[in-house]
């Protein structure tokens, strides 16, 4: 595995945009270099009714950044007395990461969200120091991101409905992680629509 800090724990996440729906998925492996310790370490966190964030990278920073972001979003909701919008969440996250510009957290992030009234979809990508990437349809982060990008671009079509979106996301993730020894052991896929959120756990190769 080498001494690359971003592949020390491994893990991968992916998100795709559809027609008034979005899908976000991650693998479930938690390992230390070669050794797999647990297979129930999901990397997706919910911050609002229709806002989700996935963090990939060093596991300790995945936990810390998700909790620190939760702290800030809780205070926002208390002060503003309203729920977060996805673009606000994204800006808070990139700000949090850039605060540590010269001693950064080792996590890459994906933010997805949906406006339940208008059906507008949001999919954002961030590197570990808060670079903004806000006009994309497909985003991937993690140790297997290159392999999943290839498959994702292949399976992606604009304006897919929820079922097609679920299929495309799951196939891209499950087949991409087969080429990476630091991720896998199943997947969790969230499909977020205006009126419901469907969570599915997938069983992939257990190796």
């Amino acid at each position: 595995m080498g001494d690359d800090i971003l592949s020390y724990n491994g893990g991968v996440a992916l998100a795709m945009k559809g027609k008034e729906c979005i899908a976000i998925a991650c693998d479930k492996r938690y390992g230390v270099q070669n050794r797999t310790i647990a297979t129930n370490f999901t990397k997706i966190f919910q911050y609002s009714d229709h806002c989700f964030v996935a963090f990939c990278g060093l596991a300790t920073d995945v936990q810390t950044v998700s909790e620190r972001l939760k702290f800030r979003t809780n205070l926002y909701e208390l002060r503003e007395q309203r729920k977060l919008k996805p673009n606000v969440l994204y800006n808070m996250l990139t700000n949090l990461l850039y605060e540590r510009r010269f001693g950064p957290y080792f996590v890459f992030a994906l933010v997805v969200g949906l406006d339940p009234k208008t059906g507008e979809t949001f999919v954002y990508d961030s590197d570990n120091i808060g670079a903004i990437s806000d006009n994309v349809n497909l985003v991937t982060v993690g140790t297997a991101s290159e392999y999943i990008f290839g498959l994702g671009e292949l399976f992606f079509k604009p304006n897919m409905n929820a079922d097609e979106l679920f299929e495309a996301t799951s196939q891209a993730l499950l087949n991409g992680v087969d080429r990476d020894s630091a991720s896998g052991w199943g997947a969790v896929v969230y499909v977020i629509e205006k009126d419901k959120i469907t969570v599915r756990e997938l069983k992939g190769r257990q190796d």
């Binding site: 592949s7 491994g10 070669n34 797999t36 080429r179 190769r205 257990q206």
Partner: protein
Amino acid sequence: MDVLNPMTYDAEEDQLRDRTKYSQMDKHLIPVEFQQQPVSTGTTIVAVEYDGGVIIGADTRTSSGTFVMNRFTDKLTQLTDRIFCLRSGSAADTQAIAQVVTYQLDFLSAEMNEPPLVRIAANCVRRMIYQYRDDFLAGMIVAGWDKKLGGQVYSCPLGGLLVRQPVTLGGSGSTYIWGYLDNNYRPNMTQQECYDFVLKGITLAITRDGSSGGCARIAIINKDGVERIDVLGNDLPKVFDL
């Protein structure tokens, strides 16, 4: 400067010699993101003797760093009709050793007009590993059947040791199943018991070791020949789901 003579050894010169070797230049010339990790058969390899032959097995993953280069590698390499070697360590080193030893044994069997003994095959492998011990990264198991001693398993690990063992493990995944071996191996098991033991061991190691994965390839070698069995992912025995 002579490396082996402490009176004339100079550490700085030795390090300079090492840094300017052609194979080491990549580290200094190419940025980290573009440096290739050596291809290694991360691996789990298992071999066990039973009355009348041997059963050998391995996983099927070859990786370069975290990238899985081959998901269905064949790590059971045939040296002669009834002798196989199991390869772990650097893929290039072990493939080169297997090629050279196959030639040597082929030549030997022409000279002696009979199939070579398993111990002789193991010794050829061991000799290569020992001779190039500073350069090779190869841990191999040589197993097979011959007329003189029946089924035999020989272990040839990193430094160039040769030892016969009734059951042995190798590769990075083996660390996770030594306990399983100590608990479940008994001498004089039947062929079916040995097969189940090998398959379960490989499955357990695949589950825990990141450098092992894919499917299980097993071979049963006895006086009647070699039977190869590939157990694909879905058909591996069920182990505790973490």
